[in-house]
């Protein structure tokens, strides 16, 4: 079978990871930041699955299942917290969430 070489997967996942990190750094909406964090987690997932298939063993794919579950839990907690802050401040723009300053 003529399969896609592993480098392609790794380049794609590195790209996704970069997009995620950049998004966290430059976006100002808490929900978009959250989506970017999910993108980072998913790029790690893609790396893991690619390596797992390349090495011919299953540990990486099992890991991915756990990561997806954790990511779902994190999204639930995260959205709940964002709703709590929206009720208090009526905004989710993190530039305006600034009671604390150094």
């Amino acid at each position: 079978m003529n399969s896609i070489p592993i480098e392609y997967y790794l380049i794609l996942s590195a790209f996704m990871f970069t997009v995620g990190v950049t998004g966290v750094l430059i976006r100002r909406n808490a929900i978009v930041i959250f989506m970017c964090v999910e993108l980072m987690l998913n790029s790690a997932n893609l790396t893991m699955v690619a390596f797992s298939s390349y090495l011919g063993q299953s540990a990486g794919q099992i890991f991915v299942f756990f990561v997806m579950t954790v990511a779902a839990a994190e999204a639930a907690v995260g959205l709940a917290i964002i709703i709590a802050i929206f009720r208090n401040k009526l905004t989710v723009n993190i530039d305006e969430i600034n009671i604390f300053k150094w």
């Binding site: 990871f17 995620g20 990190v21 966290v24 808490a30 930041i33 959250f34 964090v37 980072m40 987690l41 790029s43 790690a44 997932n45 790396t47 893991m48 690619a50 390596f51 390349y54 090495l55 063993q57 540990a59 990486g60 099992i62 890991f63 756990f66 990561v67 954790v70 839990a73 994190e74 907690v77 995260g78 709940a80 917290i81 964002i82 709590a84 802050i85 208090n88 401040k89 993190i94 969430i97 009671i99 604390f100 150094w102």
Partner: protein, 503 residues
């Protein structure tokens, strides 16, 4: 897996099972008997006491459970050893203190109808921590870290009606999510290079000659991001002051002691099982040539304590000042790891015991004062020395101990770290740490100056703690003073607790 093997494996994780069972019991009890919430804290203490009993039972016992393959010389996902048991016991003891801590907290008592949720989340944190300190598999490490983080995000914003709370929670969540994402990417690279997630199996694979060292270093820096965030070392400390200031004081105290200890335990286990080839007879660890942990940790620890101490100088909120002081303490603790020796590890364990006593004590008194005055600003502490004599003297002793002056426990903790540094011939690092301690004296003593030397414009109401509160303070205060002069038991205990499975 046959039945006897399963029973044996399960017997290794008895403390974890007890904590999980207690968590379920608390949730169910809260659901079924929602009029008897007063009993829940006692249930929590009982669960912790049983778990503590099983942990003590496991001392001086080594083993590894849940191996993924049945070949010889294989290690499972969970290791039981003295090092892990020490930190589990530490976490459980701190948690018991935190339960009593919560009794006096007005912030928590105001949300009395959600007490069941509160303790369920506390137990989520405890479970995450005690799994974290004994996990030896990257999958389990990630899961335990996330369990700990998710519970603490919610707890940081537990009294959600206040702005400060939810802001602390959101900041904690964003920083936590990003650093766990970075860590996960590092883990995925390590998995790709070695083909395994078990720390013990990674060790020999990292010694392969054709390994790409740049990639290993990159992955390790990413993994360190996740741990550095937990122990709040610079440059991953940005969440610390905000979260510590915004969260309920009980949670701040818990995060600054227990969660930090769990992070350190993870860092030590990671370095020692994956990067140390052997321990030389005089106790120094020989690192694999793959990644220079020592250089990285020296830079980070000096950076961490200098930044923590100097930023604490101009804080006006006492909670925020203690947050920066806890960053500085993470720096001191990292110094014990920098020397990469058994002596340094002993110093870390000793320091943690003393740090827990004095930090919990300081936070407890700040909470009692804030319950009455509703303020944590240092300016509002003016004249408190005469309004609350007992609290004032106790806070003074805890702060002096945090500085590291004799005859308090904090001095002994710092002394052991400095001795380890000097013995490892890192005189320059020791001098920098010493200068940092001098700087820290200024901001701790500033609080005392406000309490005792400055006259307040308006007379303050006297703050009289109840008998139970005085008792709790004494439980923390007496050891802080006692261990300053008689510290042999703790040193012996720490020396017996540094053995990791396989080393």
């Amino acid at each position: 897996m046959d039945a006897s093997l399963l029973t044996e494996n399960l017997s290794y994780i008895l403390p974890e099972i007890v904590i999980s069972a207690a968590l379920i019991i608390i949730v169910l009890f809260d659901l079924i008997f929602h009029n008897d919430k007063r009993i829940i804290p006692y249930l929590a203490v009982a669960g912790l006491a049983v778990a503590g009993f099983f942990i003590i039972d496991q001392f001086s016992f080594e083993g590894s459970a849940f191996a993924t393959s049945s070949s010889a010389n294989n290690f499972g996902m969970i290791t039981v050893d003295n090092f892990g048991s020490f930190f589990k016991l530490f976490v459980v003891c701190v948690s018991i203190l935190i339960v009593f801590f919560s009794f006096s907290s007005e912030e928590i008592q105001k949300t009395f109808d959600r007490l069941g949720e509160y303790y369920a989340l506390i137990f989520g944190m405890i479970l995450g921590m005690i799994i974290l300190v004994s996990a030896s598999d990257l999958i389990l490490i990630y899961l335990a870290l996330e369990l700990l983080s998710l519970s603490s995000y919610v707890l940081a914003g537990f009294t959600k009606l206040r702005d400060r709370n939810s802001e602390a929670s959101l900041k904690y969540l964003i920083f936590g999510g990003v650093s766990s994402g970075l860590m996960l990417f590092g883990i995925s690279i390590i998995y790709g290079m070695t083909g395994t997630t078990n720390l013990y199996l990674i060790n020999p694979l990292l010694q392969a000659p054709n390994l790409n060292l740049i990639t290993v270093s990159f992955a390790m820096i990413l993994i360190f991001t996740g741990i550095g965030y937990k122990i709040s070392s610079a440059p991953f400390h940005f969440w610390t002051p905000d979260v510590y200031e915004g969260a309920p004081i009980v949670i701040t105290a818990f995060l600054s002691v227990a969660s930090k200890a769990a992070g350190f335990a993870l860092l030590i286990r990671l370095i020692k099982t994956t990067f140390v080839t052997f321990t030389s007879p005089d106790g120094y660890w020989q690192l694999i040539n793959a990644f220079d942990w020592q250089a990285l940790l020296i830079i980070i620890s000096i950076f961490t304590m200098t930044l923590g101490n100097f930023t604490a100088l101009w804080q006006n909120n006492l909670k925020r000042m203690l947050a920066y002081s806890s960053i500085a303490h993470a720096g001191y603790l990292l110094l014990g790891l920098v020397v990469m020796s058994d002596q340094g590890l002993t110093a870390i364990l000793i320091y943690f015991v003393f740090y827990a006593l004095m930090n919990l004590g300081a936070f407890y008194i700040i909470m009692l004062i804030a319950n009455k005055t509703g303020s944590e600003e240092i300016d509002d502490y003016t004249g408190l020395g005469s309004a609350a004599p007992f609290l004032g003297v106790s806070l003074a002793i805890f702060l002096v101990s945090l500085t590291g002056l004799p005859p308090t426990a904090g001095f002994i903790g710092k002394l052991y770290i400095f001795i380890a540094l000097v013995d490892a011939k890192m005189i320059a690092v020791a001098i920098i740490a010493l200068l940092n301690t001098v700087v820290s004296l200024y901001y701790y003593v500033r609080v005392l100056k406000h309490m005792y030397l400055q006259k307040s414009d308006s007379p303050k109401d006297a703050i009289l703690p109840s008998t139970g509160q005085i008792l709790f303070i004494l439980i923390l205060l007496v050891p802080t003073l006692l261990f300053g002069v008689y510290f042999t038991p703790i040193v012996t205990f720490a020396k017996n607790s540094i053995s990791l499975l396989g080393f």
